[in-house]
């Protein structure tokens, strides 16, 4: 089985312990952080393993790219410290089981769009921005064959990811793709961060959706009419695995003429949507989730956002409606880009 490539010496020598010190959800000073991370490395019980809200952010905070979050999740599993109640774990693990037959493999021989488990969202990838880009599978019955499995980081279950991921990679590779644009950056993070961290081979190149959109918008630059909206971006947890691609958010905003609002929960300090915190076992999780959602939306509102842009369908499902109730329009990034080139979105 695959092993996490975690450099203990690098971690001991860190000095900043930013992974825990910068955590928005736990209070640790550098000395406490050092003690706790050492406990975690040595497979000893640590309150961090119990109280982690699994927001992925420590992957970004780590100055050494040493995968502290993967380590935390692995140790949660090893020490049987489950962030979620058992029925939710079982439900989640069973959710990823394909049950509507085998995938229909068509050779693509080029660049393809991977919808992951969001085949029902193909209406979000329409128009000129996506012309010529073949969707690998748009059949919702088959989508679990393309499920990147990374969600199980929220479940304290790297074993499930490691057990299933190779087959998913093989399914994608069977399409003979050379490059894959991933609709969801959770998939992008799987193939560019998680898989290498665990030594899992990925025989195709992954392209982040925002990078793809930026490049397409560059091609269609003459058709862009500045939208002049004030926009907040709801950064998803999985974007922490590809923080080098986060710059494409502002690059796209510049290109399409929208103004990112000046707010507290932005960039490194972005607040997660709370979807997984809601069900956590730790006492008070539901209320804590409701509170950070309230603060997040209030932050967008007070900053004057007219639109909240999403990448992650789960964030959209969690926050789309409450954001909309405050008068801020929730939109996927792809739809915002389509508006900029004069297309209508459903």
């Amino acid at each position: 089985m695959y092993e996490l490539r975690f450099d203990e010496d690098m971690c001991f020598a860190c000095g900043t312990y930013d992974c825990l010190v910068k955590c928005q959800h736990l209070e640790l000073d550098p000395e406490m952080a050092r003690i706790e991370i050492e406990k975690i490395i040595h497979s000893e019980d640590s309150f961090v393993l119990h109280d982690c809200v699994t927001c992925y952010a420590c992957e970004e905070y780590c100055p050494n790219g040493n995968h502290p979050f993967y380590l935390i999740v692995q140790k949660q599993e090893e020490l049987n410290i489950s962030p979620l109640p058992e029925p939710l774990i079982k439900q989640g693990v069973q959710m990823g089981i394909p049950f509507r037959g085998e995938p229909e493999i068509q050779e693509i021989n080029g660049t393809a769009l991977n919808m992951g488990v969001f085949s029902q969202l193909t209406n979000r990838v329409q128009g000129r921005l996506f012309e010529g880009l073949t969707i690998m599978s748009d059949d919702p019955r088959k989508m679990f064959h393309y499920f990147c499995q990374l969600m199980y980081l929220h479940y304290g279950k790297t074993s499930v990811i490691n057990e299933r991921l190779k087959k998913v990679i093989d399914t994608i590779a069977a399409h003979k793709v050379t490059e894959v644009v991933h609709f969801h950056d959770e998939c992008f993070g799987t193939y560019t961060s998680y898989a290498p961290a665990f030594g899992i081979d990925v025989p195709f190149k992954s392209i982040h959706l925002f990078e793809y959109l930026f490049n397409k918008l560059e091609e269609l630059k003459s058709d862009i009419k500045p939208l002049n909206y004030k926009v907040a971006y709801q950064r998803p947890c999985s974007s922490r695995l590809s923080s080098d691609k986060h710059r494409f958010v502002s690059k796209i905003f510049d290109l399409i003429g929208v103004e990112p609002v000046d707010r507290e929960y932005v960039d490194e300090n972005a607040m997660c949507c709370g979807a997984t915190i809601m069900g956590q076992k730790k006492e008070g999780s539901r209320q804590y989730c409701a509170e950070i959602q309230r603060k997040n939306i209030e932050d967008m509102k007070s900053a004057g956002a007219q639109i909240c842009v999403f990448n992650c369908p789960a964030c959209m499902q969690t926050l789309g409606k409450p954001v909309g109730k405050t008068g801020i329009m929730p939109l996927f990034m792809s739809d915002l880009c389509r508006l900029a080139i004069g297309e209508k979105v459903a």
Partner: protein, 453 residues
């Protein structure tokens, strides 16, 4: 035969009476596993008077009549087991009156659940009725004739407990009214007049319901469905007990199914809560999840699977897709809530024996006074072998219900017999006397609730 057909045409007009095979074919089947039963005529009256004339004609000709609503029972209850005239009530669909302050509405019995929902949504946004889990084409009269329940069963009980008045054509053709409407005082209450109780739950064997006064209830501005999941089915009764103690839910349903895999061997409780403000909703969420259910979450045996979801009505009909060919039928039974674990286990066993993915559901009625538990069995309409399996599974389930001291809800003839075999002799004889008194010619939906000697 020709004279009956002509008489029917005279009553309802040529467009609404038929003896043509292609139309009788439609009325010979329902959506469940029952074998086709052909009527000789089908007629669709528009008025109470027309129904009255049809009933009188049937008495004169000694021909069976079967009132039909939406035809959604799945159990063959509106199939003409002994031929005769199927009376399709769907043209009697007028909404006669909505009394806002008294919170009731008077409707013709053929009106569909969907029409009522739509009408209230449009014209009386802060009122609602208890809509069944059946498709919207199910009618009010049909639902009352089988003692149906709906999505307000937890706070208010059976739909047949929500009746403020009835108009019925008796089997001998007289029109009778029950409740305050009987003394011409309006349609606002069924009580305190002497209880006659002769028509609800009788499957149309004692008369044809033509008008109903239905209670309506407050419809709050915000409605959401939350889901709580457990793995151990033994926890369901106590969790439902806790939730019914809080009493904030509009609808409480526990369910489990083999497909999709995420539901397999897990049990979800859908908790519908409503409020006129976000504060009201959050207050209810707090008491439900942070107070009543907190111990299950902390110990890891239960978890909040979703909150703030758009409400979905129970959709056990989705299970029809688990076998190709789109068929399903279920046994519903009124059970003590404490029986949930055993109901689930036995249902899963029966399903496994017949190679059908299990689908079970228990909807709370009242404050855990009971639940309607359903075992659903999918079959392929084009594959007689799967139909046979489903039918056998249904019969086995009926027997299991009796073993578990349950009461089969809207039983097919097989289940009716099981219950009558166990029924107290005096009760049975009273049923027989009532039936003979009301229906001396035995014309009303014969074959159903037939008490032997």
């Amino acid at each position: 035969m020709g004279s009956i057909y002509n008489a029917l045409i005279e009553i309802v007009g040529e467009d609404y009476a038929s003896n043509r095979q292609e139309e009788l074919f439609t009325y010979s089947k329902d959506l469940g596993t029952s074998e086709p039963q052909w009527p000789e005529y089908v007629v669709a009256p528009k008025t109470t008077e027309a129904v009255q004339k049809i009933v009188r004609l049937a008495n004169k000709e000694k021909i069976a009549i079967v009132p039909l609503g939406g035809g959604m029972t799945l159990a063959g209850l509106a199939l003409p087991l002994k031929g005769g005239i199927t009376i399709d009530m769907k043209r009697m669909e007028k909404i006669i009156e909505v009394n806002e302050s008294g919170r009731y509405m008077v409707v013709e019995a053929g009106v569909s659940q969907g029409k009522i929902t739509s009408y209230l949504h449009k014209h009386h946004t802060h009122l609602m009725h208890s809509e069944t889990g059946a498709p919207p084409a199910a009618t009010v009269g049909g639902n009352l004739a089988i003692h149906g329940q709906g999505d307000l069963a937890h706070p208010y009980g059976f739909n047949s407990d929500m009746v403020n008045g009835l108009e019925v054509i008796l089997p001998t053709g007289e029109i009778a009214r029950f409740g305050s409407c009987a003394i011409d005082s309006g349609w606002y209450t069924m009580h305190p007049l002497p209880d006659l109780g002769l028509f609800l739950g009788w499957n149309g064997t004692t008369g044809i319901i033509t008008k109903v006064s239905l209670r309506l209830f407050p419809n709050k501005k915000i409605r959401e469905m939350d889901l709580f999941a457990v793995e151990n089915e033994a926890l369901i009764p106590e969790i439902l007990y806790e939730l019914t103690h809080v009493g904030f839910s509009e609808d409480l349903v526990a369910f489990s199914s083999e497909i999709p895999p995420m539901m397999n061997k897990l049990h979800s409780i859908s908790i519908v809560i409503t409020g006129d403000s976000e504060e009201e909703i959050e207050f209810k969420r707090h008491l439900i999840f942070d107070v009543k259910l907190a111990k299950y979450i902390r110990s890891g045996v239960g978890g909040i699977a979703a909150v703030s979801q758009d409400r979905q009505r129970p959709q056990i009909s989705k299970s029809a897709d688990w076998k190709k060919g789109g068929g399903f039928e279920y046994v519903g039974a009124i059970m003590p809530v404490s029986a949930y674990p055993e109901c689930y286990r036995r249902g899963a066993e029966i399903s496994a024996r017949h190679d059908i993915p299990y689908t079970v559901l228990g909807r709370v009625i009242g404050s855990s006074h009971g639940m309607m538990f359903s075992w659903s069995y999918a079959f392929n309409r084009a594959d007689p072998e799967t139909v046979r399996h489903a039918r056998e599974a249904l019969h086995e389930t009926d027997e299991q219900v009796m073993e578990l001291n349950g009461t089969i809800w809207k039983p097919a003839v097989f289940g009716q017999k099981l219950m009558m075999d166990r029924m107290d002799t005096n009760t049975l004889q009273l049923m027989k006397k009532v039936k003979n008194l009301l229906d001396p010619n035995g014309i009303m939906n014969p074959g159903n609730w037939e008490v032997g000697q």
